[in-house]
């Protein structure tokens, strides 16, 4: 167990040594701030328009996290493969699943920091509107983002184990998450059982239709947690299989 934390800690420190962390945080905050500002400006100049924290959350999920998560997770395992340091990690008394979960936890913690920073928006918005920001919506919205982020990070880490080329890991992660994102669209077009199955898989629907509307449904929580577990499980298998080759 301690090994997971050791690896996660080192992962987090590594993000902040490289410029990538700062660039990402800056870009995310810049984008959110601009839209937040526009929202409030529009509200000030328009009768009857109340700014909503939903806009911030929507934007954070897509495209910001959608792009940022693969950008961070691409290096978690692929970099170790590329640099050869995987040989150190696999000859240390660390279990394969400890390694994968540690890497995942490191990226999760990074995005938790970003999520925490975005809390500034509801904080600022709260006194500006009456009767204040909807706390229920806020809570479910953020819980949904966190769970979504868990799943996307797990998928990103798993795909990272498959490559030693960072760009390849990035592109494949983007494609996979994109597919999961929009798989609901053909799902809606098809009216048969395949259609409803595909709709059910949609990463976006499970967030937009529920968490973002203030609905906290157990099935959505399980949905994201299942994908998280699957990503971590396949990541572990992938590391083990690479040993046997």
């Amino acid at each position: 167990m301690r090994n997971i934390w050791t690896i996660a800690k080192r992962e987090l420190k590594a993000y902040f040594i490289s410029p990538i962390a700062y660039v990402l945080i800056f870009m995310i905050m810049l984008t959110l701030s601009i839209f937040f500002f526009i929202d409030i400006y529009y509200a000030v100049n328009t009768q009857g328009y109340i700014p909503d924290i939903k806009r911030t959350l929507e934007l954070l999920v897509f495209p910001l996290f959608f792009l940022a998560i693969p950008a961070i997770t691409m290096r978690t395992m692929a970099e170790e493969n590329r640099m050869g340091t995987i040989e150190l990690l696999l000859t240390a008394p660390v279990r394969d699943w400890e390694l994968v979960i540690g890497k995942w936890l490191g990226s999760v913690l990074f995005f938790m920091i970003i999520i925490a920073i975005t809390l500034i928006y509801p904080l600022v918005l709260n006194p500006m509107i009456s009767p204040g920001v909807d706390i229920g919506l806020l809570a479910s919205g953020y819980l949904g983002i966190i769970l979504l982020m868990f799943a996307m990070c797990a998928i990103g880490v798993f795909i990272s184990t498959l490559f030693s080329n960072l760009i390849a890991a990035l592109i494949v992660s983007l494609i996979v998450i994109l597919v999961l994102w929009i798989v609901g669209v053909p799902g809606q077009l098809l009216t048969n059982s395949l259609g409803s199955f595909l709709s059910f898989l949609s990463f976006s629907d499970h967030y937009y239709n529920t968490f973002l509307t203030g609905i906290l449904d157990l099935k959505d929580v399980v949905f994201y947690l299942t994908f998280t577990a699957m990503g971590l499980f396949f990541g572990t298998i992938s590391v083990e299989v690479k040993r046997w080759k």
Partner: protein, 323 residues
């Protein structure tokens, strides 16, 4: 401590290690000698728990490398040939990270200790991305020593070091070797000669020879080669020497005043030669036996191709004689 039995490793259709068997006792320093591609690194990677064997059994400290991989990895300190390190960490941070992964108590103090052992204390705060190859080597070695492993597996530990550092590292290995088992691979034959108790020569996935450096030399030299140096015209001496009983051949060595003669096996011809030289009226300056170097043994053993069905099996017989 190390027990390897019929270890085989295939990478797809390529057989990198072919049914090798060897062992090492506690406190032994075992050397792996072999040309590139012989299977040394593959064998070490299997012993260190990085990859599993295709077949055969490997036990370290009694633990099987597949079934008890974690225990094996706890017992082993491993320095890979590529010396993988994290360039974005400082030397101290990296060693602390590895110490934490091994769950060492008083990690900070232990890191200071190993830094002292490899003489990197003053460079502890430097980023690994900025240090020289020799320093990377030492950091890698420090990492392998952190948890005071029972077994040290070092893949080419002195490559890239300057002569002074090489001496230090060899001293360190010999010191550590007193209480622990060390398996090291090297291209430098004199190194194997100097620090190893026993040497395994590997070629194309097979163990071609296994013995102490001294025995290997003895086994391969059936006859003794002796160097003779005199004052005067050495060519006149050649027919005189040839007449001495027990001489198999005489040849002159570049330099003009040195002869090399070979005796038939188990013949001590030196007294006869010395008398012959004096009686012929020459001044005898030097007369000493030349030992066949490990280099020659290495080349002899690894140069031979295994006999194919339609080619003559000429001097591949010399390799077979050792088993």
């Amino acid at each position: 401590m190390i027990q390897v039995s019929e270890l085989t490793k295939d990478f797809g259709t390529r057989r990198a290690v072919d049914s090798i068997t060897f062992g090492a006792k506690k406190g032994e320093i075992l050397g792996f000698l072999g040309p590139n591609g012989a299977g040394k690194t593959t064998t070490m990677r299997i012993l260190s728990g990085y990859m599993p064997p295709t077949s055969g059994s490997v036990k370290i400290g009694g633990y099987d490398v597949i079934e008890n991989s974690l225990e094996v990895r706890r017992l082993v300190g491993y320095l890979p040939e590529t010396i993988p390190l994290y360039p974005d960490m400082t030397v101290f941070e990296y060693l602390k990270f590895m110490a934490d992964l091994r769950q060492l108590k008083n990690a900070d103090d232990r890191v200071d200790e190993v830094l002292e052992m490899v003489q990197m204390t003053d460079r502890a705060e430097g980023y690994i991305g900025n240090i020289s190859k020799g320093m990377r080597q030492r950091v890698g070695l420090a990492q392998a020593l952190l948890h005071k492993p029972e077994v040290l597996i070092l893949d080419e530990p002195t490559i890239g070091l300057d002569p002074a550092q090489i001496i230090e590292v060899r001293k360190l290995i010999q010191q550590v070797g007193k209480q622990h088992t060390v398996l090291l691979s090297t291209h430098i034959l004199s190194e194997a000669q100097q620090i190893c108790n026993r040497v395994l020569i590997i070629n194309k996935g097979h163990i071609v020879a296994e013995d102490t450096p001294e025995h290997l030399q003895a086994r391969l030299t059936g006859s003794q080669k002796v160097l003779l140096k005199i004052k005067g015209n050495i060519d006149e001496l050649v027919p005189v020497i040839k007449k001495v009983p027990g001489i198999r051949s005489v040849s002159s060595v570049a330099g003009g005043d040195t002869l090399e003669f070979e005796t038939t096996p188990n013949q001590e011809a030196r007294p006869g030669v010395a008398r012959a030289v004096i009686n012929a009226g020459f001044d005898l300056l030097d007369l000493h036996p030349e030992s066949i170097s490990l280099e020659e043994i290495f080349l002899q053993l690894t140069r031979d191709e295994p006999p194919t069905p339609d080619s003559k099996a000429s001097d591949s017989g010399s390799a077979d004689n050792l088993h």
